[in-house]
């Protein structure tokens, strides 16, 4: 299965959107995770958090209606929905660390079969910093990694992360354009695959040991 990056991202975002339930508090990381907001099913109203200090984040403002003092965690102008509230960063992380965020979706440089995640530093090359990611991955009830299955041919779903970790053993689910994997006590379970790939292809593109679910399904996207 060969798809371009945009199509891969769409598949991933669509599938993750199906995980969200009405009323949940959700934090979407910058980049690919942000796309999830575009595919939330009708009738499912989630509350988006922006960790700089808002719940009930709405979409980009219409032209002429921008407010430079309403921004998201990426520094972009956004809006607030009628159910929303503003607060300071301490309260924001009380929500995050305190387990009040139902789902967080983040990108990854590497993720492994024990639920470890690396997404904040490549020593000597790229040191953006962890921002709120460490708290989010540690504190959110459900941690979903949104990532393309491989990057420039490199396998990113590892037996064990080699890059410095963002958090240890906190990832619950990995969604790539090829499939859906769940981190369990037994190991990393392949639960779903895309209709255009095969279990064999997924295994060949995954360094981690994959347990194939007895009831493996095709991703419904």
């Amino acid at each position: 299965m060969a798809v371009d990056a945009n199509r891969a991202k769409e598949i991933i975002a669509k599938r993750i959107a199906m995980e969200l339930k009405d009323g949940q508090l959700v934090n979407l990381g910058i980049g690919l995770p942000t796309l999830v907001a575009n595919y939330i099913p009708d009738g499912v109203n989630v509350v988006l958090q922006s960790e700089n200090g808002m719940v009930g984040m709405g979409p980009t403002p219409e032209e002429g209606k921008e407010d430079k003092y309403i921004t998201n965690a990426g520094g972009q102008l956004v809006t607030i929905q009628p159910i929303g509230a503003f607060f300071d960063t301490a309260m924001s992380f009380s929500l995050i660390r305190g387990g009040h965020v139902d789902v967080t979706v983040l990108g990854a440089l590497e993720v492994d079969q024990e639920g470890n995640l690396s997404n904040w530093i490549i020593p000597g090359k790229l040191v953006p910093g962890m921002g709120g990611a460490m708290d989010l991955v540690t504190g959110a009830k459900k941690v979903i990694v949104a990532m393309q299955h491989t990057a420039k041919g490199e396998l990113k779903i590892k037996k064990r992360c080699e890059l410095p970790l963002t958090a240890k053993g906190q990832v619950d689910m990995i969604v790539s354009e090829l499939g859906v994997m769940a981190v369990t006590a037994e190991g990393l379970v392949l639960k779903e695959i895309h209709r255009d790939t095969t279990v064999e292809e997924v295994i060949s593109l995954t360094e981690a040991e994959l347990i194939i679910d007895d009831n493996i399904k095709v991703m419904e996207i």
């Binding site: 003092y69 921004t71 520094g75 607030i80 300071d88 960063t89 962890m130 921002g131 990611a133 460490m134």
Partner: protein
């Protein structure tokens, strides 16, 4: 008690080598007039505590790019290439602290708490050199409080007594850093008479504030 000064009145308060906390999140809610002042004063060897190093042309990012900064304690430097460059060159030290840990460390410093007991960072390089503690069967890091010589706060509205209201997402670090510095300087977009801000929306009571300057941004 009138705490209103102009930028000239702030100048003697800011000195080389100081540790400064600066409000803002990627520049939103940063007192840009006070940043200008630091650049004008050509201050050196500053230690800056804030959420991030913003962008090259905004907020804390301008101080980094201008060479005023010896060290930053922040959660993120990825939006400012000057920060990474100076870190790699060795001309600026960078201490990265997870965002939720960073804000609690500042809150602890301002609230007389001896540290922060957090699960964030356990099992990562963040734990290096830190005390760990097992409580109720779970492992935590003990992260140390932060304080500063000066806090540079942005407020949407301040009154002459120093009470501050922060609109929208400008709140971020501002009300917390106002607890944790020896001298608290507020740059307010709007300045009103004492009593004109609804006491229900004041996040920083004026008793914490030493000086208020009317912002020119």
């Amino acid at each position: 008690m009138n705490k209103i000064v102009d930028y000239a009145g702030i100048k003697p308060l800011l000195k080389d080598g100081m540790t400064m906390m600066i409000g803002g999140f990627l520049g939103c809610g940063t007192p840009e007039g006070l940043i200008d002042l630091i650049i004008e004063l050509e201050l050196k060897e500053l230690t800056i505590i804030g959420n991030d190093t913003s962008f090259v042309d905004r907020g804390i990012g301008r101080l980094v790019a201008n060479g005023n900064v010896k060290q930053v304690i922040v959660s993120h430097i990825g939006t400012n290439p000057e920060s990474g460059k100076r870190m790699t060159e060795g001309t600026m030290a960078v201490e990265l602290s997870p965002q939720g840990t960073l804000i609690e460390r500042i809150r602890a410093g301002g609230s007389g708490l001896g540290g922060v007991i957090t699960p964030t960072g356990v099992g990562t390089i963040v734990e290096e050199g830190k005390n760990k503690i097992l409580l109720a069967g779970r492992e935590y890091l003990i992260e140390m409080p932060l304080r500063a010589d000066v806090a540079l706060v942005y407020a949407s509205t301040a009154d002459t007594f120093g009470n501050c209201y922060y609109r929208g997402t400008t709140k971020n670090f501002n009300p917390i850093i106002a607890l944790a510095a020896d001298t608290v300087i507020v740059e307010a977009e709007t300045v009103v008479a004492a009593g004109e801000i609804n006491p229900e929306v004041i996040m920083t009571p004026g008793v914490l504030v030493d000086y208020v300057v009317k912002g020119e941004y």
